[in-house]
Every structure is written in structure tokens, then in C-alpha cells.
Amino acid sequence: MTISMLLPELWLLATICALFVASVSGGKRSVLSWLPWAALAGVVIAGLSLGVRGETLYGAYRLDGLSQFFKLVIALGFAVVTAIAANKRDSKDLSPDYCMLLGLSAWGLMLLASCVELITLYLALELSSYSLYALIPLRGQDRRAAEAGIKYILFGAAVTALALFGLSYVMAAKHTTYLAALATSSWSLAEAPLAVVGMLLFLAGFFYKLALFPFHFWCPDVYQGTKNETAAYVATIPKLGAVVVLVRLAALFSPHMEVTNLLAVFGAISMTGGNLAALVQRDVKRLLGYSSVAHAGYIMLGLAAGSAAGLAAASFYSLAYILMNLACFYVVCAVSKDGENPTLDDLDGLYHRAPALAMILAVAAFALVGLPPTVGFTGKLFLLTAAWDQGYHWLVVVAVLNTAISIYYYLGLVRHAYTGESTAPAVQVSRGSLVFGGVLAALVLLVGMLPASLYDLAAQAATQLHP
């Protein structure tokens, strides 16, 4: 184990330090002129360290296939979010400390990806959450953002307490906090009731991050209240942290246990409830909030399946999820006037006003539905096959019927962009930003059409967890 193995984390930490220096020195130039490039270098570094394996901190911190895969995805997500923010670099809110807090949260999630011990895991989770508590209310003097911040903190504090309480049960019942040791013991309710209840409470902390039913109430409110750029971050990257931990924990269980069945039920309610609630939304960010509740439900298909294929599918889907959501939020941020929340009517006639944005939005929306040949479809296909193979037939049927429900509101985005008429002026977007958006949309399509190499990475990681 050498220090160079931790290069992805160290690079991000160095970026954070540079941001800190910039925030105290108060230079004239916006940090957003160099930050996206630094973050892009982070993606390259994370890509190069994909094959690194090792263990440190007395076995509490492990670099394996799963952690390296997720570090790559987190680095990618962070780079995209900074690039989206760079479009509005003149905005006063996007100060160096804002970017520093974003980076700190992403750093916590990177650590989370490697934690294989419950207490370390908890600490990493808090590290990523604290910066979010500070980030969400940052929206000028906006009261909605303050409200969203309070909601997020109150919910977060309650759920964290719950998770800690659960952790105490697990420790009492199993006398260990190492996942490897936990995996060797039984997790059926009949044999280890205390541990199963404790683990469920502990999982609640991550369900909250993922915005899974019944911990989803904050999600639409926070997306709506907070700044567009913050929403783009909150909607995507923290979910990756939740998924990586849930994938690790789901490897403890096998299909058709009480815990896994509960996951399946939560997933089914989450997708149905999220999709139904999204049908009536007018605010695009709020709509995307409910959509992410539904997508959290889809991810449960892979976790409930619990097999290597299921865990690989869940990991792949989380990548798909952030790609399509970031593409969607890119358009939301570009369309919004003066950082206001766009409504569906603000998208009217977008194909006159900014044809490229309309096309990117269409690709993202159809990916969120799960239409081929986008990454949304491929990810969903993996989830469905994994769940069906493990006998969760009812869950698969619920999931495909949910696709039919969700099409209406995603199509609403496209419908407003392509068939709505509007006299609003053309949307001004710089050429560089358009190219960036085009690359995002192309990624959504390309990874969907040729998923083999990325899926193999996810599958390798999953077989390590679940041989």
C-alpha cells in the first residue's frame, strides 16, 4: 500500500486546498475558469487508478473494483457539475467557498466508496453531508433555499440519529463492524433479529441519501428550493455514495430474505409513488425530484436481486442515472433566466430558441424514460434481467408498468420543448458550453449502445463482492 494508490482522493483534496487558498486570497478571476479542467484531470487520474487494489487503516479502507469504479464515476460527476456551474461563472453565488464545499462533499463520497467498516462508513457519510447542509441554503437572499436547507438538515439529523441507533444494535448483536466479518454470519430475521433490525435502521441513513420511500420527502422540496447548480449536484453525486454503500451491504444478504423483500417493496412503492407524483408537477426541478425518487426505486431491483449480476446492474444504473440527470440539469441551468426555477412553460418553443438544448433535453428525457438506444434503457434492462433471474417477477412487472406511467411526464418535457409555441427570446449559450452539452448527450447515447466495457467493469467489481 503506497500513498500513490490514493491518488484520486489526494488529487481532489489538493483541488479543495487550492479552492480554500483562492477563497481567502480573494483574487479577481473566478475559480470556475480553471476548476473544470482540474476536475477533468481528476477523472483521468481516477480512470488510471481503476486497476489499483489494496487495503489500509487496519482493513477499514479498501481499494477494490467497486470503490475504484465509483471513484471514477464520482470524479466524472464532479467534473460535469463544475462545468455546468462554469456557464454562470459571473454569478456572485458561485464563489470559491461554494466550490470548495462541493468538492469537500465529493471527497467525502470518494472516501465512502472505499469504506468497508461501519464506523468509518458513517464518518465518511457525515463528511459528505455536512458540506451539503451548508451548500443548500446558499442562494442569494432566497427564502425558499433557506427553507430547503432547514428541511434537509432536520431530515438528515433525524435519519442520522436513526442510523447511529441501528449501528449500536448491529454492534451489540454481531460484535464486529467489519463488513467482511458481518458477511460470514446469518442475516435472517429468525436467527439474528436484533442485527437485522439494526441493519435496517442503519440502511435508513442511505435510503435518505438516495431519496427512497419512505425517506424521500425532502427530495422535491430541496431540488426546488436550492440553486439550480446545487440541485444538479444534490440530485446526482450523493446518490452514488448511497448506491456504493447499499451495494456493499446488499452483498450480505441473499434473495428472498426478509431484508431483501423489504428492499423490493420499498423499491416498488418508491417508483410508483415517485412517478405518480411527478405527473402533476409544473416546476421542472420538482419534477426531476420526484423522478429521482422513482429512479431510486428502480435501483432497488438490482439490490433486491442481491446476485453479482444484480449488484453490477445497480452500479451500472447509478452511472446511467447520473449521466442522464446531469444532461437534464445542464439544460435546466442553461434555460433558467437569472437562476430562477424553470417551469414546463419556460421550455415552450425551445426548439426555436435553442435547437441544440432542445435536442439534449430530448435525449436526456428519453433516457430517463428508459427508451433505447440510450443508457437508461441498457441500465434498466440489466436491472430487469437480474431481478427476474432471482425470481422477483412481480417487481419486474411493476417496474415495466412504471415505465408506462413515467413516459407521460418525461414526454411532457419534450412536448413543451418541441410543440409549445413561445415568443420568448432565444437562449444565449456559449459555443463551448454547447459542445459540452453535446458530449454529455453523446455519452448518454454511446454508453447505451456500447455498454460492454463499462458493464464488465461493474460486473468484475460485483463478483469480487459476491463470488
Binding site: Y351, V396, A404, Y455, A459
Partner: protein, 524 residues
């Protein structure tokens, strides 16, 4: 990649329009865009020519192309052509240049996007007909929805928002369960490869549920009687080229799905459901014809006539006889040619009088004789007049129906009579009625319009007078499907007098008789 012809014909058919679509994004000038798409269309037809070398006596699937796609899950890029798909692919290739020519002046806004959508549609449709991997099929099947939605939503008539959403919701909702069926087939059959899945036998209960899931998707696409309401709306609002593609190609995907998946994969369930499917088909024929009789909008009239014509196709399929199915396939081709031609002509008419009402387009005979000659030809073909293409298809289906059960035949005949009634009523009004105030705009066909319509008109007469060639090419494939069905059902122990409760307990056959091995055989 493994190819058999030395040149990947099918892949080229899919890639050429895609490449042209990308090139379109960088082109300037509307005329250049139209020309590029037209040239691509002609190129597409030329690339499709080698498919005519299809050997009916040869292997089940020809022009096979195979490449790894996602080995971890057993997904392959697997393309191939057989008698069921051959003519559909050719028809799709032919429609692209005709659609471009047909909308040369009709489409004046957002020309780039329009041709982009046309090219994507062509590519996806050929993929649907040629895919031999279940996931690949689904990818193309759904991918085609988006360009079609945009064609209706952006270039459509006044109620285009309503029509396009209805089209999208209906067809997508129908095909979501198809995805569940595909996933289920992988678990039971162990693969996504269609030829391999065809070899296996499945328990009746599984077949029954899978059949229901697939049939819903296909029945909505066809569309069969209770699910047809999206069709008239979509047809009326779509631009001329959109209507042509919808009628000529999209509707065929449903019936093609029945032939490709329901019959070979779920033979016992298909036989069990046949009486219901036949009843629905006859209902479609009669209902479509009766409603068409009462329309005042020409486009709506032809849209409802499509419901009736497609009813003949599904009727032919579920008779499970060689004449029925070859009639059905021929009818699929014919309906594409004839109705495609009719929609194209209505598009031309709309450009002249800006109305689709029969009342506004009366008395064209004096002003546009050449136009009326072609409209008459397509109309006679639509009512299956002897000597035209539809006559052959319809008569084959009716022969199959009378052979199977006299009463089915008698039930379907009034449909043919209805077709004569509504088409002749239309022709009479449009040719002889008192001219409306739009007559100053009625100029006769121009060269471009002749070129658009002539290939279809020639095909109407060619297939009508010499149908043997087409029938010979498709018959071996049909016999293979039918014999495979029979053997599988016998191996399962399915008898025609078994009650449903007993059938539901039938397990999968352990071994399927040797005859179906030929399905797997592909040319090296």
C-alpha cells in the same frame, strides 16, 4: 464481425441513413439537404438490391451478420433476413426516396430536422425487420418511436399535440410488457438469440403469459380493433410523409411481430388464442370498413380502411395455413404500397386545395385527369379489384379462411364489400362532384410527382399480374414456421379438444422433433 455475403448488406442498410443523418447536421441550404436525403434514399435502394438474391430453397436465415455486443449477458448483434422479413425490408428502403420526393414542397419549415427524422426512421425500421436478437429487436422497435413522434408533433396538423402524445403513449405502454417477456425468455430459454429461442419448447403457462404480453404490444401496433383509436388521430395529423411511413411500415411491425415471435415461440398459446384473435380480426375488418363509410375527411377514411385491411392480415396469420399466412404477408406488402400511394396522393391534393374534406375536393376529374387516373388505380387496388396487388393477398387470405372454417370466410367477405363501397363512394365524389371554390389551385401532376407515384403504381400492377414470384420466395419460410409449430405442439401433447384448464398444466416438451433443427441452420 461474421458476415456471409462478403459485404454486410443489412448493416449497410442501417448505417447508410445514420451516416447521412449525421452529415445532414453539418449541411447548409435546404435544397442541399433534400438532395442529400434523396441521394441517400436511392443509395439505400441500390444497397438493398443484393437482397433480391435471397434463395428460397436455402437456409432459414440468410445474409446473416453476427458480432459480439455484450457477451456478459449474451446479447449479440445478430442480423438476418428470411422470407417473412425480406419484402418488408425492401419496402422500407423504397419508401425513403419516395417520402423525400413526396414532401419536396409539402415541408417548408425545419427541413433539416424533418429529413433527419426520416433517415432515423428508415434505419430503425430496417433494424426491426432484420434483428435476430431479442434485445436488438426491442432497441430498434422503441427507437423508431421518437422520430415518428417528432414527425407528427412538429410537422403535423392543428391537433398534432394530441395525436402525437396519443400515438406515443399507446405504443409505448403496449410494449413495456414486451420487455418483461424478453427478460423472461432469457431466463427460461437461456439466450436472447431468436433462432435459438425458436428451437426450444416452453411450458404452456409460460407460453400463455408471454403470448399475452407480446400480443398486446403487437396488437396495439397493428392496430387491432379495440386498440385502434390512436391510428386515425395520428394519420390525420401527420404530414404526408409521416402518414406514408406510418401506413406502409409501422403498422407492419405489429403483424411481423406476430409472425416472428408469437407463432414460433409460443405456438401452443397462439393456437389456443387463435379463435379470439380471429374474432378480433373479423371485428377489425367490419368495424374499420363500416366507420370508413361514414367519413368526410379523405385521410380519416383511408386511416379507417387501414384498420380493415390490417384485419385481413391478422386474420390470415391466425388461420395457421400456408395460404393464409402467405396471403397475410403479401397483404402487408400490398397495403404498404397501396395505402402508401394513397396517403402520398392526399398529401399532393392537400398542397393544392389545403383541405382534406371530400366536399372541398369534388370534381377533380376535369381539372386533374392524370392525378385521378393514379388515384383511381390505388383506390381499385385498395378495394382489391382483380388484376391489382391487393386482390391476390385478399383472395389468398379468404381461401385460407374458407378452408379453415366456412363461417370465418363468410364473416370476412362483407369486409371486402365494404371496401368497395367506401372507396367507390370516395372516387365518385372526388371525380364527378360539383367543383369547389378551390379549383383555381388544381394543377395536374408535375414531373416530380409522377416520379414519386410511378414506382408504386408499377408495383400495384406488377404484383397484381405476376404474384407467383413473391409467393414462391416467402412460402418456404412460412412452411418452416408452421411445421415447427405443429411439431412443438405435438411434442407437448397439445390436442385441439383440450380444455384450457388442462392446457395450463402442460409442461415444456423435453425434446423437440428433428425437423426444427433446420431453423437454426444458417449459411456459413
Amino acid at each position: 464481425m461474421m458476415t456471409q455475403f462478403g459485404f454486410p448488406v443489412v448493416t449497410a442498410l442501417i448505417v447508410v441513413p445514420l451516416a447521412a443523418a449525421v452529415a445532414l447536421l453539418f449541411l447548409r441550404g435546404e435544397r442541399a439537404m433534400r438532395l442529400l436525403t434523396l441521394v441517400t434514399g436511392i443509395l439505400e435502394c441500390l444497397v438493398a438490391l443484393p437482397l433480391l438474391a435471397y434463395d428460397p430453397a436455402g437456409a432459414a436465415f440468410q445474409f446473416v451478420e453476427k458480432a459480439a455486443w455484450l457477451p456478459a449477458l449474451g446479447m449479440t448483434y445478430h442480423m438476418g433476413v428470411d422470407g417473412l422479413s425480406l419484402y418488408m425490408i425492401l419496402l422500407t428502403a423504397l419508401m425513403l426516396p419516395l417520402c423525400v420526393l413526396g414532401s419536396w414542397t409539402y415541408i417548408s419549415k425545419r427541413v433539416r430536422e424533418f429529413h433527419f427524422c426520416l433517415l432515423l426512421m428508415t434505419s430503425a425500421c430496417i433494424g426491426v425487420f432484420a434483428a435476430l436478437d431479442f434485445v436488438l429487436f426491442y432497441v430498434f422497435w422503441e427507437a423508431m418511436l421518437v422520430p415518428m413522434y417528432l414527425l407528427i408533433a412538429v410537422w403535423g396538423g392543428p391537433r398534432r399535440r394530441y395525436a402525437s402524445i396519443k400515438f406515443f403513449l399507446y405504443t409505448l405502454a403496449g410494449s413495456t410488457l414486451l420487455l418483461a417477456a424478453i427478460v423472461a425468455f432469457r431466463q427460461v430459454g437461456g439466450t436472447f438469440s431468436i433462432p435459438e429461442l425458436m428451437e426450444k419448447s416452453y411450458s404452456f403457462k409460460f407460453q400463455f403469459l408471454a403470448f399475452l404480453a407480446m400480443a398486446l404490444a403487437f396488437a396495439i401496433k397493428v392496430p387491432m380493433f379495440p386498440f385502434h383509436t390512436w391510428l386515425p388521430a395520428a394519420h390525420v395529423e401527420a404530414p404526408a410523409a409521416g402518414s406514408v411511413l406510418l401506413a406502409a411500415i409501422l403498422l407492419k411491425m405489429g403483424t411481423y411481430g406476430f409472425l416472428r415471435f408469437c407463432l414460433p415461440l409460443t405456438p401452443a398459446a397462439a393456437v389456443t388464442a387463435a379463435p379470439v384473435m380471429i374474432a378480433i380480426s373479423v371485428a377489425s375488418i367490419l368495424y374499420g370498413g363500416a366507420i370508413a363509410l361514414g367519413q368526410t375527411d379523405i385521410k380519416k377514411l383511408i386511416a379507417y380502411s387501414s384498420v380493415g385491411h390490417m384485419g385481413f392480415v391478422t386474420l390470415g396469420i391466425f388461420l395457421f395455413s400456408v395460404s393464409g399466412i402467405s396471403g397475410a404477408i403479401l397483404q402487408m406488402l400490398n397495403h404498404g404500397i397501396t395505402t402508401g400511394g394513397l396517403f402520398m396522393m392526399i398529401g399532393l391534393l392537400y398542397e393544392r386545395s389545403h383541405s382534406r374534406e371530400i366536399a372541398d375536393n369534388q370534381g377533380l376529374g376535369k381539372y386533374m385527369p392524370a392525378f385521378m387516373f393514379l388515384l383511381g388505380l390505388f383506390s381499385f387496388s385498395s378495394l382489391a379489384f382483380p388484376g391489382t396487388n391487393s386482390f391476390v393477398g385478399e383472395i389468398l387470405v379468404l381461401i385460407g379462411a374458407f378452408k379453415g372454417n366456412v363461417w370465418i370466410g363468410f364473416a370476412a367477405v362483407p369486409g371486402a364489400m365494404l371496401a368497395a363501397a367506401y372507396m367507390l363512394r370516395l372516387l365518385q365524389r372526388v371525380t364527378w362532384g360539383a367543383p369547389s371554390s378551390f379549383k383555381p389551385g388544381w394543377w395536374d401532376l408535375r414531373t416530380r410527382e409522377w416520379v414519386t407515384l410511378l414506382p408504386l403504381a408499377v408495383l400495384v400492377l406488377y404484383i397484381g399480374l405476376a404474384p407467383a414470384l413473391a409467393i414462391k420466395t416467402i412460402e418456404p419460410s412460412i412452411e418452416r414456421v408452421l411445421s415447427g409449430m405443429k411439431q412443438k405442439n405435438q411434442a407437448m401433447g397439445l390436442r385441439s379438444d383440450m380444455p384450457l384448464a388442462e392446457r395450463l398444466n402442460l409442461p415444456a416438451a423435453v425434446t423437440v422433433a428433428d425437423g426444427t433443427d433446420s431453423i437454426r441452420e444458417e449459411r456459413p
